[in-house]
Symmetry: C2
Subunit: 367 residues, 2 copies
């Protein structure tokens, strides 16, 4: 194998493929990046079996071939080289030579045959969506994915496609996040994608109108973003029927300025941090919401103008769950739908109905 | 105690005084900030006994007084409040009330009498120096302060004043850093200031021509920066006679472009990381310096144009020590003065003689 390419292209390619290399694998070859010199490109692949990322960069191929190099040291070497043409050649003794200006590295390589093959996926796109929209949808929901492995299915995000809408759904037993967008697809899909995969996908997605193409197989999802392909296994098992958790009706509705409400809750949560309960109490009545919290250090009282439709209510929450949702929402006015101090609270944008956040209240002793 | 002040002023004051609060003390009162309402100011003080920082902000004092509040929670509360006037009042039950717009906090406080008094220092300034210059001098030397406590005096930086020059000196047994600037003072001083103190001082110093005033007592140093006073104890004991370590003569001198040399050494060091030796070899001959390093992963060879005065030499270093010095130097051309493969290397700016870095070589088995 022998090729030359621009340092900046190679660095960019490595940084993408590297996102699948976790360093946690017991297979040494999975700490490497597969370099395949073919035609007029280098294909770089990183994998941890569950997730594989493949990307293509332009290169002058003098001799085709493929090898695997340690992802970390190879990435560091290329990053530190001058901005110029890099020449890479395989040598005897399982090594490659990397030359750039007056720098010359000799680096051992591993055998490309030991690198796991990517699952074959028939690339019939099931739907397309602008990168910026998918990026925002992931960001709007991924925080609600379960961090604990006790129910593995909840460590993933549901991609639900029906009625020409893509719904992303995450829930962790205490709260639920749903984000919904129109897509031009007649398919019906229910697939759960590991949160870890989507974290990496959202780093690769750019703030652009250009599309990402998405293909599903029974066990895998394929994201195609320009010259980059991301293949991830799906999580096995059935996702919770989230629609049945979301109440259809409510007894009272609060409309509030999002940034004001967020500020009040963030300040109130400063006192709740003691003992890690994050407990805050909301007293909703008339045109005001009073938010209080206390700890051994002292207490706090916040007051906020609201519009209340319905009866007054006192209810308590873990402030973290409200903050996570309010931080990511993008409308200036939000609505909270409530029924009692022991039933879920639904938070939505007040205008466009494209997201739903559900938060369970904390039951107090005197309720 | 009762006062009102601008949130931004109070936040700024807390962030300065807080720099002396380490949270490592067993005295609860030292996790607090002392607030003293006096005249038309609030004086905020943080201390860990060795280091105390006091700063003054403008306030409307309605009732004078002093209390101590937990530094962390008080800082977080003030930071999260809206940008507006804040009112703080002492209440019964050892608490203060903090009011800003519709936010109201009640926070327990500690007794100001328990807060340690700052050492009294007669404020006859011994010298003045522009803040930006002292900041740069600290940055240019502090990296060479010993991290280990085996020889406590080496965890400090020597402030040496003589012949109208201020010399800052740090050494850790493997390398030495000296930075020198003219000052308008006839004093002669030798004082060793804890590295930790100077870390905090350099964060408070601004990139401005305005002066910092410096006063010494037998046991303390006082930095006066605008409305802020920083008092630190000095380290006890005698600093090493560093001048006797710096060789007066050399057999060869290398002149090199700093950024090129730094780039070569940084790349070469990528291979030396294996096993944590950071070992790189320099082969100096004619118009070239060849830098090599190798590890189990492979090897690297870097080549650099230099001007050599004197005989060729092969010498080995821990790359970290060369990188630390070359990174912080500011001239485009540097000189290296060498005598043999087992004697120290001196690195200087090629033009202005205001800094000296000494690095010990690594003795190789075949030397």
């Amino acid at each position: 194998m022998k090729f030359t390419c621009e340092k900046s292209n190679l660095q960019e390619g490595i940084s993408i493929a590297q996102k699948a290399v976790t360093g946690k694998s017991t297979m040494p070859v999975l700490q490497g990046i597969l370099l395949k010199a073919l035609g007029s490109s280098i294909i770089l692949t990183g994998s941890d079996i569950d997730l594989s990322i493949e990307t293509k960069i332009k290169a002058d191929i003098i001799e085709e071939g493929d090898i695997v190099v340690d992802s970390k040291i190879f990435g560091e070497i290329i990053r530190k080289l001058p901005n110029d043409i890099i020449e890479i050649t395989t040598k005897d003794n399982n090594s490659i030579e990397i030359i750039c200006q007056k720098s010359k590295f000799t680096l051992i390589h591993m055998n490309a045959k030991d690198f796991p093959e990517l699952p074959t996926i028939n690339e019939n796109t099931i739907f397309q969506i602008p990168q910026s929209i998918l990026k925002s949808m992931i960001k709007s929901t991924i925080f609600a994915v379960a961090q604990e492995e006790t129910r593995p299915i909840l460590t993933g995000l549901l991609f639900e496609i029906k009625d020409k809408r893509l719904n992303l759904v995450a829930l962790d037993g205490y709260r639920l996040a749903v984000k919904s967008e129109y897509i031009d697809s007649e398919s019906t899909i229910n697939a759960v994608i590991p949160g870890k995969t989507l974290n990496e996908v959202s780093k690769i997605l750019e703030e652009t109108d250009e599309n990402v193409n998405i293909t599903f197989t029974p066990n895998h999802i394929l994201f195609t973003i320009g010259e980059t392909k991301i293949v991830s296994r799906l999580l096995e098992g059935e996702f919770i029927k989230y629609q049945s958790i979301i109440p259809d009706e409510y007894n009272l509705k609060v409309i509030a300025k999002r940034s004001e409400l967020l500020g009040c809750i963030e300040r109130a949560s400063l006192m709740g941090k003691d003992g890690n309960t994050n407990l805050i109490k909301l007293d909703i009545q008339g045109e005001n919401m009073i938010i209080t919290s206390n700890s051994q250090l002292g207490m706090v009282r916040e007051e906020l103008n609201i519009i209340l439709q319905g009866q007054p209510l006192q209810i308590a929450f873990n402030s973290k769950y409200l903050i996570d949702a309010l931080k990511i929402m993008d409308e200036e006015e939000i609505s909270m739908e409530l029924s009692s101090s022991v039933t879920p609270c639904i938070i939505k944008n007040n205008e466009v109905n494209n997201c739903t956040y559900l938060v369970l209240p904390v039951r107090l002793l005197n309720n």
